[in-house]
C-alpha cells in the first residue's frame, strides 16, 4: 500500500515536470513574450507578488468572496435538494428554476446586480448563481442514490421525514458531497475572479489580473493565474481531507 502511494506521488511529480517542460518548449517555440513569457520570469514575478501587500489584500478579498458564495450555495443547495428529495412538489418546482439558472448568461444579470448591490458584492452573487445549481444537482443525486438503497426501508416502516433527513440523507450524503465539493469550490474561485473582472471589483484578484493585462504585464498576469490555480488545488485538497475524515467516521 505504501509502495503504491509512493508510486502515485512520483507519477504526479512527473506530470508537473512534464507540464513545466511543455512550458519551456512552448516558450522557445512561440518566441514572443506577449503570448507566453518565460517560466523563470513568471516565477520571479510570482515571488515578487507574494511580497506585495496589495496582492494579499486582493487575494484575501477574493478568497472570502469565494468561501462565502460556496457556503451559501452549499447550505441552500443541500437544503433545497433535501426538500426536493422528501417532497415531489419541491422537486417539480425547482426543476425549471435550476435549468434557468444553469443557462442564463452572467452578463445578462451582472448589470442589474451592480445596480442593486455593489462591485464588491456582485461577484458573490454571480458565483452563488453558478454554484447553487451545481450543488443542488450534486446533493439531489447523492440523496437519490441513498433513496434507491434505503427507500423501501423508510417507506415500509413509515419513518418520519425529519428523521430521514437528519439520520439518513444528510449523514450518508455527506461523504459524497464532501468529495465533490473540492471541485465545486475551485470552480467557485474561478467564477469569482471572472465576476470581479466583470464588475470591476476593487482590490481583488480579478482587478489585479485585469490591470496586468491592461499594462501588458504578461509575467504578472501568468503569475496571478498560477497563484489562482494553486489556491484552487489547496482548496480541493482541504475538501478531499474532509471527505476522507467523513468516510472514516462512517466505516
Amino acid at each position: 500500500m505504501k509502495g503504491n502511494r509512493r508510486k502515485n506521488l512520483l507519477f504526479s511529480v512527473f506530470a508537473v515536470a512534464v507540464l513545466w517542460l511543455a512550458w519551456v518548449l512552448a516558450y522557445f517555440a512561440v518566441g514572443n513574450d506577449y503570448l507566453l513569457p518565460s517560466f523563470s520570469e513568471t516565477m520571479r514575478t510570482a515571488g515578487g507578488l507574494l511580497a506585495e501587500r496589495t496582492f494579499w489584500n486582493s487575494f484575501l478579498n477574493t478568497l472570502l468572496r469565494t468561501l462565502l458564495s460556496f457556503a451559501v450555495s452549499l447550505a441552500a443547495g443541500v437544503g433545497f435538494a433535501l426538500l426536493a428529495r422528501l417532497f415531489a412538489s419541491v422537486r417539480a418546482f425547482f426543476a425549471p428554476v435550476i435549468s434557468l439558472l444553469r443557462t442564463v448568461p452572467t452578463m445578462a444579470f451582472i448589470l442589474v446586480l451592480l445596480l442593486w448591490t455593489s462591485p464588491s458584492f456582485a461577484p458573490i452573487i454571480v458565483t452563488l448563481l453558478v454554484l447553487f445549481p451545481a450543488v443542488y444537482a450534486m446533493a439531489l443525486s447523492a440523496f437519490d442514490e441513498t433513496y434507491s438503497e434505503f427507500g423501501p426501508l423508510v417507506l415500509s416502516y413509515g419513518v418520519s421525514k425529519p428523521r430521514q433527513a437528519l439520520k439518513m440523507y444528510l449523514p450518508l450524503g455527506a461523504s459524497s458531497l464532501l468529495s465533490q465539493s473540492g471541485s465545486v469550490l475551485s470552480m467557485g474561485l474561478k467564477i469569482t475572479v471572472s465576476g470581479e473582472v466583470l464588475s470591476s471589483a476593487y482590490r481583488s484578484l480579478g482587478w489585479l489580473m485585469q490591470n496586468a493585462k491592461m499594462n501588458i504585464d504578461m509575467p504578472r498576469l501568468l503569475a496571478l493565474t498560477l497563484v489562482t490555480v494553486l489556491a484552487g488545488f489547496v482548496l480541493e485538497g482541504i475538501c478531499a481531507l474532509a471527505a476522507k475524515g467523513a468516510r472514516r467516521r462512517l466505516s
Binding site: L155, S156, V159
Partner: protein, 232 residues
Amino acid sequence: MILSGITKKYGETKALDGVTCEIAEGKITAVLGESGAGKSTLLSVISGLISYEGEIDGVSGAHVRRRERCAYLFQDPKLLPNLTVEENLRFVLPKERWNAIGAMLARVKLDGKEMRRPGALSGGERQRVAIARAFLFPHELLLMDEPFSSLDLALKKSLIELVQSLWEEQKNTVVFVTHDVREASLLSHRALVLKRGKIVLSLAAERPFPRDFFTSSPEEERLVRALTEGEE
C-alpha cells in the same frame, strides 16, 4: 385478510393476474415462486405501496395507501452504515419501543453489540438486527421478502429457528416470500405457489414448530411439482 381478484399490470405485462386467497391471522403464509412469478409484487400490494385492481378486505386498491402497522424484513438487512445497531433500531421504532431494544438484542444474541456499526458485524449478525427490528416494530402484519436467500446453510438454519421462536412468542401474522421450497415448508402454516401471476397451489402445513431442518416434509414434493409443472 382476504385478497380478491388482485391484478397488477406493468404496461402490457400482468405481474399478478386475478389472485384470490386468504391470509390467515396469527399464522405464517409463504408465497413460493420462481423469479418473475409476482411474489415481491404481491408483497408490495399487501403493504399498500402500489396500486392494484381488485380488493383486500373489501377495500379497492385503486389508490396507494400504505398499510400502517406493517413490519418488513428485506433480503438485504438495510442497516444504515452511519448508525450503530441501537441507533438503527431507534431509526424506525417509535419512542415507546426504545426501552425494549436491549432485551430483544439479547434475544437475538447480539447483546454487547449495541454500539457497533453494521460494518463491524457479520452478515448473519446484520440480518439478526433486521429481524430484531421487524419483531420490535409494533405491527399487525410482518412481511418478509426472501430474507434468507443470500445466506449460507448454517446461517439460514439459525435464522429460521430464530424467526420460528420469535413467532412462537408473538404469534403475529406473517407473509413471507421465497423461492426456496425448504424454507417454505420449514416456516409456513400455508404455502401459496405463484406461477406467472396466478396461484397454482395452496397447501396447508399445520405441523408445530420447531420443524426439523434436516428432514424433508410431505408437502415438499407437491410444492416442487407445482413450482416446476404448475398444478391447479
